[in-house]
Amino acid sequence: MKYSDPYASGVALGLVLLAAYAFAGRGLGASGAFAASASGTVAAVAPEYAASNPYFGRYLARPGGPWREWLLVEIAGVAIGAFASAALSGRFRVAVERGRGVTVRARIATALAGGTTMGVGAALARGCTSGQALTGGALLSVGSWTFMMSAFAAGYVVAPAIKRAWQ
């Protein structure tokens, strides 16, 4: 099924972001949800270590703890909203998207490796495409624009290497 017009869906996305600014005093995010759930998981296994670790400790110290983190609830909403949207538009399909000639195993391996790399980058940059590029971008944050430029620059450097995987 065909997707919606990119400009129209972009404006809709911008209005969602504007609503987040207006009603929550903050923007959107995604990597923070992973950081919060990782912190909660580590705390469940080794509570003392997690509390003393400066990265996990930050999420554990927030009111309500890591499992009531704003971004984690928002991401749960993202999953439900995306599922509903895909189902209603006839696009829900169990599959592994990959280029022709790429095995499922190879695609899963690159997905895992890419995800892991992004996790480290987002931790260092204090956010991802949502929390930095979109949220900070629209608020004209210098750090967010720096992140956006360097992320896409690196993406274009790496892309030719993976070109064959997608064609």
Binding site: G10, F56, A76, G81, A111, G121, G127, G155
Partner: protein
Amino acid sequence: MNDLLTALVIGLAFGAALEQAGLGSAKKLTGQFLLKDLTVFKVMFSAIVTAMLGVFWLSRLGWIDIATIAVPETYLRPQLVGGLVFGAGFALAGLCPGTSCVAAASGRGDGLAVAAGLFIGVLAAGFTFPAWLAFYDSDARGAWTLPSLLHLPYGLVAFAVVLLALGGFAMAERLESRA
């Protein structure tokens, strides 16, 4: 609690908007890096321009107080380096953190794998965090914005971003018609 309800509702709309745009598909996202399908750029900049102008005009009309919105703080060098690492992973994965959740929720196994990778990545970052904590907190510039960097009025910078986006859209259409 009310706070978390807001988070859930905003998340629902966020997820639906990304899915409708086609950003739950790794094939579509890698098209951006291969310059074949520039949906990512079009969606991102339509969103940025909409939210930016919305904040600008709503605060001018006195409907919202811009001071209550948290501007992501700048840590210049860590964000530059973090961006490079993130971008390399993004191209490899074909999905970013938010869109990996959209892909997974639309049934895509590669989306689930990217999300699992992200979880491993932040775990690894957390375990090794003490080693790079000093760098993480370095080059702190506070809530630094492009208008204060350029010493230009906010409205003028916003106008420049609109022009940049419109120019980018025209270029994107040209590139796509050639691809």
